[in-house]
């Protein structure tokens, strides 16, 4: 049984091998060949649209979270820790328990929102990655499209389920510790796993048979300025993030770990001596330390993820139907936002909320650039689907 359909041979873009099977198609950068790599509502198109939309959606959610939830949540956690210190001073163990219960709830609130943001953007990265490997997935077009849909449905439902965990809890759940939102998130995760196993099966089929090169037209060979800048800029961002992480681990990680236990001990000593001023100072120190750790980790992870995003987007550029000037604008905006956000997140401790605001604007720049590129891809698809000769 054939597991995949023969690839369409674009005019001038492919050739037949001696056995009659299609051989490697490496399309040149001509409109007809690029069009052949992007069939109407095929798996690759779905994954490109869905991937960019998921990343933009995840980033928008992250920006909203940073502005409206993150700082407020940190303040409330500090207040709860202060309440625990007061309970220690008052020799009131049940008060300690209540305060830690509140801290747990605040951490869950914060953690599920960060997880929703991370899982949505990461599902988008994976969707773009899957779009890249479609030429090597030896399955029928219908199956590939089904897997792409399955992946995108999972990619939307997983962060939604994670987001709802804090609000739904275990209400109306038949289980004592797992709520409906967790069930939704886990089911969506299962959809993603099934889709990925399907894609791996297709890859296995392809490399096991070795009968053909690519099972469909490969990505266009693009040597444009946009691709080169996105590839070099993206890898540079990853390198910078890696160097920052190494610097943080080498110079600050151990010091921060020692400081954390030292501050907690001082907090307890102050509270047990009924010195609430000292305990309050320790709570403030603890909050400052957590903030310092958080901005370093956020800067490290964001700059690396933006680097990966830039590299992935470099492959989508042939499908962005905009004139060269606009394509350059979006690429420049994306790379500028990718450096502004992590740098100003790092500077937040020195410059305060102004820096946080500039970081948020950096995030917004990346989102706008992504939407700009998505519009370009939509325009390209529209032209492509409108009829022959329209895709020039």
């Amino acid at each position: 049984m054939a597991v995949w359909e023969p690839p369409p041979i674009p005019p001038g873009g492919g050739q037949r091998g001696s056995a009659g099977s299609a051989v490697r198609i490496a399309p040149k950068d001509t409109p007809a060949n690029i069009a052949a790599t992007f069939p109407a509502m095929g798996a690759r198109r779905l994954l490109v649209f869905g991937g960019i939309a998921l990343i933009a959606g995840g980033m928008l959610f992250g920006d909203i979270f940073a502005v409206f939830v993150l700082h407020q949540n940190g303040g409330q956690t500090g207040e709860a820790l202060l309440a625990a210190s007061r309970a220690v001073a008052a020799q009131h163990p049940s008060g300690v328990k209540d305060a830690f219960g509140q801290i747990g709830s605040l951490l869950e609130d914060r953690g599920t929102k960060i997880d929703a943001h991370v899982h949505m953007t990461d599902a988008g990265y994976l969707a773009l990655l899957l779009a890249l490997i479609q030429p090597y997935v030896a399955l029928s077009a219908g199956r590939k499209k089904f897997l792409a849909k399955l992946f995108l449905i999972g990619g939307v439902l997983l962060p939604l389920g994670i987001f709802l965990i804090h609000y739904v809890g275990v209400a109306y759940s038949p289980f004592s510790v797992i709520g409906w939102a967790s069930i939704l998130a886990d089911s969506a995760g299962a959809l993603l796993i099934i889709a990925l196993i399907g894609e791996l099966w297709g890859l296995w089929n392809h490399f096991r048979s070795m009968r053909v090169g690519a099972v469909e037209a490969e990505l266009p060979e693009d040597r444009s300025w946009e691709r080169r800048i996105l590839l070099a800029g993206g890898t540079l961002l990853v390198l910078l993030g890696f160097l920052h992480g190494a610097w943080y681990a080498g110079t600050m990680l151990y010091e921060h770990e020692a400081m954390e236990t030292r501050i907690l001990n001082t907090m307890l000593d102050g509270a047990s001596a009924n010195n609430l001023t000292a305990a309050g100072r320790s709570v403030a120190d603890y909050g400052a330390l957590q903030a310092e750790k958080a901005v370093n980790i956020a800067a490290h992870s964001h700059i690396i993820e933006f680097g990966l995003l830039a590299i992935l987007l470099s492959f989508v550029q042939p499908y962005v139907f905009l004139d060269a000037e606009w394509k350059r604008r979006w690429v420049t905006l994306l790379l500028a936002g990718s450096i502004i956000l992590p740098v100003f997140v790092l500077l937040e401790l020195k410059l305060g909320l102004v820096s946080g605001g500039i970081a948020d604007i950096g995030g917004l720049m990346v989102i706008v650039a992504l939407i700009g590129m998505l519009v370009g891809v939509l325009r390209y698809s529209g032209r492509l689907d409108a009829g022959p000769g329209a895709s020039a």
């Binding site: 040597r223 590839l231 070099a232 890898t235 390198l239 890696f242 770990e257």
Partner: protein
């Protein structure tokens, strides 16, 4: 598909699968217990302090610190293995755009693979033997190898003629 590309893509997939299996094992058999121990130690410290058992309170804080030290590194190992694997797969698709010869491209790919294996391994060793110099040295060497490989990729992409 070039040899460098194959090495990065298949090495990346293998590393990702390994990292995920490690993460799954950690999540199923270690993580929940570790988180319980961490939260429990902190709450116990405060409760002991409320009861004015300060020696026990400080012991609980020390236990919290030690558990957190392990937890941070275990999560880092898992996420860095998978993260570096993702990077390898993506660069595997793009490596043919690096403006060096096939031989150099293959060496860059090999260097990236070795660094991506060794760097998180060093972090894992730090967790197994707290404060051991060889563990930190392994992590530093691995990180340096990845840095060199990434710098070569940046130069290769930047050199490419438009």
């Amino acid at each position: 598909m070039s040899a460098a590309s194959k090495l990065l893509i298949f090495g990346g997939i293998a590393l990702a699968v390994f990292g995920m299996l490690y993460g799954l094992h950690y999540a199923l058999f270690v993580e929940h217990q570790t988180l319980d121990r961490m939260g429990g130690s902190l709450a116990t410290a405060f409760t002991n302090a409320a009861d004015r058992h300060m020696s026990e309170a400080h012991t609980a804080i020390a236990a919290y610190g030690a558990t957190r030290y392990d937890y941070v590194r275990q999560v880092d190992v898992h996420s860095h293995w998978i993260g570096l694997a993702m990077l390898m797969i993506v660069l595997g698709v793009a490596i043919d755009h690096v403006a060096f010869g096939d031989r150099i491209r293959f060496w860059i790919a090999l260097t990236l693979l070795v660094g991506s294996l060794v760097f998180p391994l060093g972090v894992l060793l730090q967790s197994e033997s707290h404060g051991a110099a060889f563990a930190s040295a392994t992590a530093i060497v691995g990180a340096a190898i990845v840095t060199v490989a990434l710098a070569a990729v940046v130069v290769g992409f930047a050199r490419q003629s438009g």
